[in-house]
Each structure stands twice: as structure tokens, then as C-alpha cells.
Symmetry: C2
Subunit: 436 residues, 2 copies
Amino acid sequence: MNETKTQIAAAKAGVITPAMKRVADIERLSPEAVRDEVACGRMVIPANPRHARLLATGIGIAATCKVNANIGRSPERSDEAGELDKLRLCVQYGADTVMDLSVGGRLNEMRGRIIAESPLPVGTVPLYQAADAVEDVTTLAEDDFLEVIRTQAEEGVDFMTVHCGLLSTMLPLAANRMMGIVSRGGALMARWMAHHRRENPLYTRFDDILAICRAHDVTLSLGDGLRPGCLADASDEAQFAELDVLGELTLRCREADVQVMIEGPGHVPFDQIAMNVEREQRVCREAPFYVLGPVVTDIAPGYDHITSAIGATAAAYAGAALLCYVTPKEHLGLPGPEDVRAGIIAYKIAAHAADVARRRPGARDRDDAMACARFNFEWDNQFKLSLDPQRAIEYFCASNPDLTPEQRDHCSMCGAKLCAIKSSRALGGRGSGGGA
Amino acid sequence: MNETKTQIAAAKAGVITPAMKRVADIERLSPEAVRDEVACGRMVIPANPRHARLLATGIGIAATCKVNANIGRSPERSDEAGELDKLRLCVQYGADTVMDLSVGGRLNEMRGRIIAESPLPVGTVPLYQAADAVEDVTTLAEDDFLEVIRTQAEEGVDFMTVHCGLLSTMLPLAANRMMGIVSRGGALMARWMAHHRRENPLYTRFDDILAICRAHDVTLSLGDGLRPGCLADASDEAQFAELDVLGELTLRCREADVQVMIEGPGHVPFDQIAMNVEREQRVCREAPFYVLGPVVTDIAPGYDHITSAIGATAAAYAGAALLCYVTPKEHLGLPGPEDVRAGIIAYKIAAHAADVARRRPGARDRDDAMACARFNFEWDNQFKLSLDPQRAIEYFCASNPDLTPEQRDHCSMCGAKLCAIKSSRALGGRGSGGGA
């Protein structure tokens, strides 16, 4: 695999790869446009050649907004079969990428099965496996971090989160926060640095990481170890100090022909979201922004798929390219299958709403088809056009148990006599094919 | 009751009423500030003197953003007891106002019981009762509409939606839309006008309506009969033609010492929401804007509490004062109790996120308290600070069935070894009372 040419290397050389062609077809872009976006780093196509079943996906401002779903074992919950079921739910409900965040158990086998089965790009946080292998992260040597990255790259991982922007000088900034460091990877590296009184090895050894990623076309997702964990810590000095380092590393990735995207917050008040996206775009030279939420309030555990879908829509509208879902179980425990479903649908809503708002070509077609189906009481069509047909059918049937198919020219919300659409259809409306 | 002085009349006369005092206490405003906001019409306090159990609430840009929940019987579903249960849920989960949209059955009794029991301002759409009383709305005479308004005002209704801005000249505009008219009230008035070839009586008899509302201090909520029913119809000529009439009627309300707010869309792409709010504020001279959602995509039936909470947050951030909830059953059927709960919480999130984003004094206090509770693994405190404690507890227990109280220094999401907060606490953080 030493002669793998990365997508960005190919693009810079003027080559249009099969992956670029596929992305162009899906995104209604010309292959040349996709190539140019990849060449300049505004789009990434995470596609490790070892990932046999992969269907290539483009992530960047020129493409539709994408959704990532996290799955993976926790040491205290779930099993391999359960996580593979979640992977199938990710595909069924339309996630665009999936991250295996497993810790505990046989990690290589879990990941191997996910890569073998997934048509979606698979991401990981190699640091988790490194830390999982030992009792205490501080016992790891610098090379240990690199070895895990190499192993996972050789296995076919398409993109990896590495927390290389968190430097030792930033630890006092984090200590002064309300909630310190809430990123698992960030907290682990901070402990390692504090213990050894040395700089972050993921930063000092960044050239070695680049060499591995270039060899296997692994896309780097530069992690935000200092993402805010509450509204109070948003947009602070710690967060932006790390972002500046990520900006510097972005350029080094591109020089090394390694694809790169940038991870972002976290917990951010609604009024600061666009600013955060714009700042990332400026500091990181338009590298695709991969945001986690952000949640726009801290007071709704059990509903953080909603608090964060609100933030994700605003982020995507401002230019974020990939949205990492948050499930209803966030802040409470490991998500189950129903949480995965709820998280994905909430994020499909956010991504789609932003695509419509950014006026991407054709983005509203499905909404318009739904509007016509509603106006014509075509319930089956409405269900078919839904993000979650099964849920729509279930709710409709539960709310209208007595309606025969012939009576479905209204629903139980208004009843037959006061149904607005029934009244309105008599007066016209383009949806019915009539109109004035 | 002929000598009732409306809140706005009192405010104009320089009087601070008990209702204004209460609002000032809740909103951390001075009584004088509340009085001045009411006097100029930027705030309304819907408070019919006949509504004995009412606790007065202020709705306007100077106050925190409020949430309305719709309840009420449908001819095909639910019963009186069920709707009173929903009212209790509204109070329990923190709705600020409630509308009884019942049709079918003994409407006066239903409404009477809701008013008797509700500490929240109660709103109605009198047109529904008028239409419900006959087989066909076109058989109603002009006086019939007024009679229902008078009856309901005398019973103690605090605010009423009247669809008086939809004029006969606008019907061709609506007929040219994808979905025509989707407002129940709008569609009924359109049918009446088309049948009689006469102008909207709620417009031509507006002075009579004002006289009734002044006598009972009923706050008018000027309905948007032409609100868009799909993204394709948003911000169109029909919608804004009606808004212009509402602007004219706003001034007539204020002259007549009648409190007034304005209802707004509906279905609006995310990028058009701020513009819609700003336009309403300009055309209707800063009258409180009462928005329904808006939903930001049409393709997620079963999840419209989410699609619309996204739009509601953006609207509230832009200046909307009252958010009408949308439940997961929207577009599918009448909501049940769990839907009411889901709708209210989604909207509490939206309203609160906007209050934080608008930097209202103290708005973030509860978020900050939650952040500290999280950093200190104070689970009981986290539950207490949650918008829906019961749900948070339920999810936590389901996800962490094996944790003893002593082991609760982590959760099943990361497990004990990789818990970021555990690692981070060792390094500082203000939330723990330590810090650098």
C-alpha cells in the first residue's frame, strides 16, 4: 500500500479519481469542481483504500451537509452484536459517516467488523485504544500513540481524530474554566503532559502522523481537546488558542498531501455559533468544519438531540460541513438503538434545513413534493417522503384509528369539518395541479 | 364589568397595576419599565378580570421569551378529562400560556373548566366555536362571529385569535400558492368571503370587536390566516399583504386601548426567519410577535417538535416574544399527553436558548449551575436543574443500572477510566471551587 496516492495528491495533480466522480454525481457538481475543492482542501473524501465496501462521500462547503453518528462499545454497556445493529441503523436512517468510539473489550475485532460491514466512511479516535490498553495513560510512551494510529490506518480506517492542537501552555487556561477539559482525548493528553512535563507528542510527532496518513490516505480530523463543556466556557481563550494551532497544522497537512478537517464545539450559546464557524473558516483556511452539536443550553439532559440540533442547524447554515450527532442520552449514558435513531433523524433535519437555507440546488425538492402530497391527502406519499416513514405511519395510525382509507381527506387534528386544507382546496392551490 | 380599564389604558394613564407589578417581579424589570412597555404596546399582559385564578404574565421583547401550548378536544379524539390532564401537564412542564382550540362537544363547558382551573392566560379562536355550531360556515351571519367573541370575553378568555387581516383581494394570491390556505381560521373566512362575495366581517366589524375586547380587557392576537403551509409558500406576496393589514389594525387596537399581538408563520426556511421577525416588528410597530414554530423543513412528520424548535429558537433570538409549540403529532393527528410534554420541553429549550443568546440578565444562571453540578458529579442536582427531571432520571438509571451511588463519579458513556471530567478535575476547573 506504499504507493497509495491520496485524494488530495491526485487532485493537485489534476487527476479525477473514481471517488471524486462518485461524489460529483451525488452532489450535482462537475467532477472538475469536486477535484478543485479537494485540491484546495475545502473538501475531503475520507477513503482508505483498504476499506473495501466504502461508498465515497464528500465533506465540504460545496457539498450537502453531512451527518456523523458515533457508535461503539463502552466498557460498561453493550456488546459487539449490539454495536453492529447500531451500524445498520446508521445506514438505514441516513447517517453519512460513522465513528467507532469503542473502549473496552476486543477493540481490533470490533473495528474490523465495522469496517468490513460499513459502506459509510469509518472514523476512530486512536487515542482511546492506546489509553484502553493500559491502566494509566501516563504509562504510554510517545511511540505507543503512533503505533495505534499506524495499526488502525493499516486496517482501513478512513478518518481519525487526533488531539494534537492542545499544547502544554494551554493547560492553565483550561484549569481556569468552569468545566476544565470535557473532551476525552483532550483530558487524556492533558494528564499525560502534566505528568511528564512534556509537550503533546501528537504535536511534536505530527510529521510522523502525516507520514502514516499519507501512506494510507487517512483523513485527519483535528480534534478540539479544549472544546467548551458548558455555555460559560464557550469561545474562551483556551478554545481559540487551540484553534490557532489547528490552523497551523492544517497547512502542514495540505503540504504533506494529507486530507484534513477541523473539529469544533461543543456547548455554545446560539448567538456565538456563526462567529465560531467563521473564525474556524478563517483560521483554518476553509478546512471542512466538523462540529459536535453544539448544544445551545445546558439544562435539558434527556433532550440534547434537540438542544444540539438547534445549534447544528445554525452551524451548518453558517458553513459547517459535517455534523456529529448528539443523542437523547448525552450527558447521561451510552445511547441505545432508539437513541441512535432519534439522534440521526434530529441531525438529518438540521443538515437538510441548512441545505435548504443555503439554497443548494434541488435541496427543497423533497419538501415541495411533501407539500403537494399534503395538499392532496396522499398519505402514503407523505410517509414515503418522510425522514422516518415508520414513525410517521405509527403516529398517524395511533391518532386516527377509526379512519377508513376513504375518510383520509382529513386527520384528527382538525376533524373533517374544520380541515383547512379541505376548505382551501376548493379555492385553488398549485399543489393540486389546479391554481389560479 | 363595563368599567374595566385595560392594562394598556392604565399604563397610558401612568398607573402601575398589580399585574404589572407581578410581571416586573418575575422579569427582573422595574414596575415603571413594564408600565412603559405596555403603554407603547411592546408588551401585553393578557388578563381578563373574569379569569379568577390567573397569574399575570408579560409577553414582549423586554420580557423573557414565552411558550404557548395548544390543547383542546377534537371532534374525533379525546375527552374533557383528557384535556384537563393536558392542562395540568402544561402547568407542570412550564408552559406560559395555553390555548383551548376545542371543536366538537360541549365547548362552553370545556372552556369554562379550563379557565376555572388554569393559572396561565387562556386563549381561544372564537371562530372555531362559531363554525362548529353550524353545518357549514357560510350559513353564519356577520353578527354570529361577534356574538361568539362577546360570549367568550364575558367568560374570562384572556386572549383571542381573530383572522381579520385576510381580505377578499388576497384570495387570488392564496390560490396561486403550492398549498393555498393552511390556517383553519383563514380557510373558514376565505370560504365565507368567496361564498358571499363580501369582505371579511372580522375586518369590516373590527370596531365592534375592539369594543368587546376593551370592555373585558381581552388581548387580541391578530391571526395570520395566510401563513405559509410549506417552505415553498414562505415569505410570499399573500403572507406579506396580510401582514400589512395587521400593521394597520395594530394601530387601531392601540388607539382603542386594546392590547394586541401578531401571529406569524408557520413553515419558513431557516434563512428567512430573522427577516420575517424584523418585518413584523417594522410593519406592526414592535407589537409582540407570536410565532407558530416555524418548521424549517417539511420532510420530518413525527419530529415536527424538533423541526419547529429550530425555527422557534431563531425567531426568538431575532425578537419573537411568544412561541406556540408544535408537537410530534403535527401534520398527523391530535397530540396526546406525551406529545404535549415533548412539545413543551422542546419549546422551553428554544425560548431559553434565545434568552441566553439575547443575554437577558440571569438567563444563563441555571446553565452555569448545571455545569458545576456536572463537573462535581452531583447527579441529583443535575436532575433538579433539568427542564424535565423525570426524563433525565429515567435515562440515567436505564443507562447505568449497575452503578452504586458511590460509583457515580462517571457514567456509562465513557466508563470510569476514560471519563474526561474525572481526568480534568485533577487539573483544576472553577466548577469544583478550585481552579488556577
